[in-house]
């Protein structure tokens, strides 16, 4: 039991930090620092830089072109990434689809798709939720009917994140309705350029376009785009969800947000004095920081126990998902409250990089202010998506506690 980083780990951190210092484009870094909109082009450009360094996939084994890093290395990388204000990589391909493909996909799929994910050539999105199937995912209805060497897909997916950018989508589809709902689900890879696909934006409560409805109208999908076996998709889906949740502790992002919060609380003033001098506000920061200190260790304990047992991730990741999402929400809430009055304006243009005007006449309305209330509103999603907090507690009580 030792929480100190050993010399190799420290050396690794130095290397990672130096890389971010040297290679992260300034324009992208600035957008992230200020909470401005980032584009697909920004994210792809960054993925290609990582790929050139050989760091295209920090969570993949070496044999698929990943870094093969252990969990402490991955933790350090993520911490430094967030601190450097580098964009997160596309999680749908790297952290969700890839583990499924590596475990259950066939060689042809692995050989074709994985390199294109690594290089940033393909943008993937996720087709899980449907209007009637949120928490109750197994009730999904989008159908895939086998016709010769194709499936014909019909239905609707929703809460699709960044699908407006996507080249490909991986979908859960119903290939049988005979047995239990879980037993008739398959896992399909669908080319977004296929005829019959319509993407309709959904505007979030913060006014931003980040999610979509996706409609499938007799979309033809080659059978070789089936992952694993037909009607076994539920197994792969659960595997994927566990991986998704394991990333949801988001320690790096939380640490970055905490640092930002402290900066804001040092710059904002109350009665002319820095807000952080107010013990009441400072105590609220302290309360979240304590929670985050604990979660960082809990996260590493869970992941290292899994790694040690060479096992797959278990229901313990639900603990990480619950706490991680709560912490990021609390930090967003505190950042908003730190602003006081300045949280009230809603200036859409100010979210675009390069917009030079100060919407308010007050020099006090700083560059970090415009996105902050929207971030608070937006972050309410984190306890809803990837299995709501209620679903995670069901998992804990059933799978860990045996209730």
């Amino acid at each position: 039991m030792d929480l100190k980083y050993n010399p190799e780990e420290e050396k690794f951190r130095t290397e990672v930090r130096a890389f971010f210092d040297a290679e992260l484009p300034t324009d992208i870094r600035t957008k992230l620092q200020l909470g401005r909109r980032i584009s697909k082009e920004d994210m792809v450009r960054w993925q290609k830089i990582l790929f050139r360094k050989g760091w295209g996939a920090v969570n993949w084994p070496k044999r698929f072109g990943g870094t093969g890093w252990d969990i402490v290395q991955q933790h350090i990388f993520e911490e430094e990434r967030a601190d450097a204000c580098a964009p997160p990589q596309n999680p749908f391909s790297l952290k969700m689809l890839a583990p499924v493909m590596q475990t259950f996909g066939n060689a042809a799929q692995q050989e074709y798709f994985l390199p294109r994910i690594l290089s940033g050539d393909d943008w993937w999105c996720q087709g899980y939720s449907e209007p009637g199937s949120g928490s109750d995912l197994a009730s999904l209805r989008t159908s895939a009917v086998r016709q010769g060497d194709h499936y014909i897909v019909n239905g609707q997916k929703t809460w699709n994140t960044m699908g407006q950018y996507a080249d490909w989508i991986f979908c859960l589809v119903r290939t049988s309705s005979e047995a239990r709902p879980q037993q008739g689900i398959s896992f399909l890879l669908i080319d977004m350029k296929s005829p019959g696909i319509t993407v309709r934006p959904i505007i979030m409560l913060d006014g931003e376009h980040e999610i979509n409805d996706i409609f499938f109208d007799n979309v033809k999908v080659p059978v070789q785009n089936l992952i694993g076996e037909e009607n076994k998709g539920w197994t792969y889906a659960k595997f994927l969800l566990t991986h998704e949740r394991s990333g949801n502790a988001g320690i790096g992002a939380c640490k970055r947000a905490l640092k930002k919060l402290k900066e804001i609380a040092s710059e904002q003033t109350s009665n002319g004095r820095p807000l952080i001098e107010d013990s009441r506000f400072r105590d609220r920061i302290a309360q979240v920081e304590m929670e985050l200190m604990a979660l960082e260790i809990t996260n590493l304990r869970v992941l290292s126990a899994t790694a040690k047992a060479q096992g797959t991730l278990g229901p313990e990741v639900s603990v990480l998902k619950i706490k991680g999402s709560e912490i990021i929400q609390q930090l967003a809430e505190l950042k908003m409250h730190a602003l006081g009055h300045d949280a009230l304006p809603y200036v859409r243009e100010a979210l675009e990089m390069g917009w030079a005007g100060n919407p308010l006449l007050s020099s006090h309305y700083r560059s970090y202010a415009p996105p902050i209330s929207g971030q608070y509103f937006n972050q309410r999603k984190t306890t809803i998506y990837a299995g709501s907090t209620e679903i995670q507690k069901n998992i804990i009580s059933q799978m860990i506690l045996g209730l």
Partner: protein, 384 residues
């Protein structure tokens, strides 16, 4: 003690409910918000016709002589309907301030104009570095030749985009943060040297920042004695906070109703999600929060007209703090229980949530008012 509303009050409530369902549904509201004005000029005219704009003024100035409980009922409906019009700023905060503290000629001139829907006002009392502290006034007022010259900046003036006049606090003596030395002026929007920068708010209304550069007003623009305006401003802000409490209660109840409906209709795992005990209990917590918040809004309302400044301030801070916290619980829970439908622009739920959040952040958030209230406990005990 009496816990019932009068028949007039119940009729007022019903009138507003009818108005909202007929003329101010969610789609209409969306259009009003998207318009350049950010609210409905027509609705404002209707408020004038319904007597809402003259509600709290004495009959001698053309008012209806209503009290703070009447205002509570109106503001609760403003919450239910998410009404965007500058009622709080014009009628409650500034109109009330003029009623209480302005010289008679100003009352005689302005209150009937407000009542007729011809005049809108906004309070410009906060400055950026002061956060919620009304005594933090850096804007200066210099007297010379029978006129006052104002220079400085005012931040996030609620309903400031559409106001015809501003009530501006400025320092005529003392240093930033002193309670003494603050004066209050009526400044017309077209005053020379005044810049108004308007912008939308998170809930779809319009606010503004003001820049005053040697803005000159006459002696008749002064409200209250020079250097003695802070208690007047505090009283107006207390009253505004009481009104915000009522608006928040309207939203809390609307969110609870929407969530309850969703729990009864949304199905997952083959049953309505309202059959899950964890959600039932959360809904029960929301109901409790709503009942307690209503009690606090009543406390705030009955203290809003109180002459005892310390007791009024104490009670209203307690109410605003409590409702800020309760609103957070209800807003966040309502969004959470709506799942994905809670975080999209399409449903009214997220709009309720945003307005409720911003009510907390307006005129002092829960932490600010908790501190106010808490600090009164020190004196209270020494006398036990």
């Amino acid at each position: 003690m009496e816990f019932n509303y009068s028949e007039e009050q119940l009729a007022l409530q019903e009138t507003l409910q009818r108005f909202i369902s007929r003329d101010y549904d969610f789609d209409k509201r969306r259009k009003f918000s998207a318009s350049s004005l950010g609210y409905s000029a027509e609705a404002w005219t209707q408020y004038a016709e319904l007597g809402l704009l003259s509600l709290p003024y004495p009959e001698e100035f053309g008012g209806l002589g209503g009290n703070a409980v009447d205002i509570m009922l109106v503001m609760e409906q403003f919450g239910q309907g998410l009404l965007l019009e500058p009622y709080l700023s014009t009628v409650v905060t500034c109109g009330g301030l003029i009623r209480d503290a302005a010289p008679t000629p100003m009352k005689q001139k302005m209150l009937p104009q407000i009542a007729a829907g011809e005049l809108k006002l906004a309070l410009a009392a906060y400055e950026a570095a002061g956060r919620y502290d009304l005594s933090y006034v850096g804007c200066t007022a210099r007297e010379s030749g029978g006129s006052w010259h104002l220079t400085g900046r005012k931040t996030v003036v609620l309903d400031g985009a559409s106001a015809d006049h501003y009530l501006v606090s400025a320092r005529s003596s003392g240093g930033t943060g002193d309670r003494d030395g603050i004066s209050l002026f009526l400044v017309p929007r077209d005053a020379k040297g005044l810049t108004v920068a308007a912008y939308p708010t998170q809930w779809g209304a319009r606010a503004a920042d003001l820049k005053l550069d040697e803005v000159t007003v006459g002696a008749d623009a002064l409200i209250g004695a020079p250097g003695r305006a802070l208690p007047i401003i505090e009283r107006a802000v207390d009253r505004a906070n009481a009104a915000l409490c009522a608006e928040a209660v309207g939203i809390i109840n609307a969110l609870n109703q929407a969530t309850l409906n969703y729990l009864k209709t949304r199905k997952q795992f083959g049953v309505a999600i309202g059959t899950f005990q964890a959600l039932k209990h959360k809904m029960a917590d929301m109901l409790i929060a709503a009942e307690q918040s209503r009690s606090m809004a009543i406390i705030a309302a009955v203290h809003a007209d109180s002459q005892d400044a310390a007791e009024r301030h104490r009670a209203i801070s307690a109410a605003k703090a409590y409702i800020g916290q309760a609103g957070r619980l209800v807003g966040q829970s309502a969004v959470q229980m709506h799942g994905g439908m809670g975080v999209v622009d399409e449903l009214i739920v997220s709009h309720y949530f945003k307005r409720l959040t911003m009510i907390d952040l307006s005129l002092g958030d829960a932490d600010y008012h908790l501190a106010n209230f808490s600090d009164t406990l020190r004196q209270a005990v020494s006398s036990v």
